[in-house]
């Protein structure tokens, strides 16, 4: 079933949402990927970056400074918006609902993490199906691999940072081992590729 679109997302586009997961080395990686996206980037971007509790404000601020896109901490029940980067809050899982609003949960950690990338990815795959782009970046555990598998199984696009070039290769490697990928990229290649995907329509 095709979800309802936000009014300003064009019907002709093939993708509705981008989800990104990262952990160790994630801030630098996100700065490179998100920092290279123009203000006109038309998709909402949801990010889980494992961080120390309490550092959320800092992550939003640091990322905001290196992006022209708006960067915000997630707000429970808020709708996602084109070109807005939303970061999961420490201590809470972030989930995407079918009506494209955000839900939180304080349930058990998944892969030792809360927020967990798997929880976001699996819910987003369920919510928008093949209209989803999932990206696994640097990280030191295996969170995100089951989520990326769910994304690829529902027909979405799976992108993984080349583990050899990652600060911490475990997470992208686990994603490749368990989910495989449609594309394996250097960090610098990801933003231009996303632009191509959305421009192709």
């Amino acid at each position: 079933m095709r979800p309802k679109f936000a009014a300003n997302i064009m019907e002709s586009r093939r993708y509705d949402v981008v989800v990104i997961g990262c952990s160790t080395g994630g801030l630098e990686a996100l700065r490179i990927v998100l920092g290279a996206l123009p203000a006109t980037f038309p998709l909402p971007i949801l990010v889980v970056c494992h961080t120390a509790l309490g550092a959320e404000g800092l992550l939003v601020e640091l990322l905001g400074r290196s992006c022209v896109l708006t960067v915000r901490e997630a707000v429970e029940k808020q709708s996602i918006a084109p070109g807005v980067v939303v970061l999961a809050s420490p201590g809470y899982h972030l989930l995407l609902e079918k009506d494209l609003t955000l839900s939180f949960s304080a349930d058990l950690k998944v892969c030792g993490a809360r927020p967990a990338i798997d929880v976001l990815f699996e819910s987003a795959a369920d919510a928008v199906g093949e209209r989803l782009i999932g990206i696994v970046l640097t990280g030191a555990n295996n969170d995100g691999s089951r989520g990326l598998l769910a994304i690829r199984q529902t027909g979405g696009v799976g992108i993984v940072q080349d583990p050899v070039t990652a600060v911490a290769p475990e997470m992208p490697q686990a994603a490749l081992d368990i989910a495989g990928a449609d594309y394996v990229f250097l960090l610098s290649e990801i933003a231009p590729f996303l632009m191509r995907l959305v421009e192709e329509g």
Partner: protein, 287 residues
């Protein structure tokens, strides 16, 4: 065409509601679905529909389902700054009350109730306080009433206790028995643990404070609004409400009845906006 798993979930929710009176239909769907799918390995089923015969015919099965569905995740002094704020900003007001009623709505396995009891004790409020700790999950309530937690976890909570303004050491409040610590009976004597379903049950007492943290996040906006009305209607005038750090009441029409005491800690005070009386001194002049 609807996804087949979503159809199964509708059938499951219908069975819970029609057969057992538990209505989960206004829970946030994404996390509810995750929890329902999590039941399958825990109960040894392959598909959600496979659970339906047991759910409809097996005595007590639904209670087991509820105990797993409303997975209690709780810790002592979670977000210690909230408990510090309760100590600094709310406790002084409570000092003037001869009798204090507090409702911990959605108490899960009780960690938060005991955190609160410790705080009240250290502020010399406990002896005139009655705490009602409620949850939908009877298995969690039984654990809460027991008040026995792994020592390893209790040691983890010691730091949060101090950050919450704890005056002594958390160890003062439990007796260790091998790997477990049992909360002191003096903390339990003024706590009543009771089954209460925020979705279906109504106001059951008049209270001066409600802790309802990380409960609303599991509900959709409609149900959040309804529960906020229930909480508001439970307050004595000037009662304090403490929600989870990512929850809020600003979206709801009850917001006008609350003033914010500490937004970052989500502490509010209920000061109902009483309707203006039709007569006011100004009217005199027009007579």
């Amino acid at each position: 065409m609807q996804d087949v798993k979503d159809i199964e979930i509708e059938l499951f929710l219908d069975a819970m509601r029609l057969r057992h009176g538990y209505d989960f239909s206004n829970y946030s769907r994404a996390s509810l679905k995750r929890r329902i799918l999590g039941l399958l390995p825990a109960l040894g089923f392959d598909r959600i529909v496979d659970m339906l015969p047991s759910l409809l015919y097996e005595h007590g099965f639904h209670l087991h389902v509820i105990s797993l569905l409303s997975v209690p995740v709780s810790e002592m002094f979670r977000n210690p700054e909230v408990f510090l704020s309760l100590r600094k900003k709310v406790a002084p007001v409570l000092q003037s009350y001869p009798q204090i009623n507090i409702w911990v709505a959605g108490c899960a396995t009780g960690e938060e109730v005991y955190s609160l009891a410790i705080l009240l004790k250290e502020e010399n409020l406990y002896d005139r306080t009655q705490i009602y700790a409620t949850d939908i999950n009877d298995a969690a309530l039984a654990k809460a009433e027991e008040g026995v937690y792994p020592v390893k976890l209790l040691k983890d909570y010691a730091g949060a206790y101090l950050k919450a303004g704890g005056a002594f050491s958390l160890e003062n409040y439990y007796q260790s028995l091998y790997d477990f610590g049992m909360m002191d009976s003096s903390l339990k004597k003024n706590i009543v643990f009771a089954h209460h379903n925020l979705v279906a049950d109504g106001v059951f007492c008049e209270v001066n404070m409600i802790l309802c943290r990380n409960v609303l996040i599991y509900f959709d906006r409609y149900l959040q609004g309804r529960v906020l009305h229930l909480l508001r209607d439970s307050f004595a005038r000037g009662g304090f409400l403490c929600l989870g750090n990512k929850e809020s009441l600003e979206f709801s029409d009850v917001a006008v009845d609350f003033k914010t005491i500490d937004f970052s800690c989500r502490i509010y005070q209920c000061v109902p906006n009483l309707p203006q009386t039709s007569w006011s001194p100004d009217d005199m002049t027009s007579l």
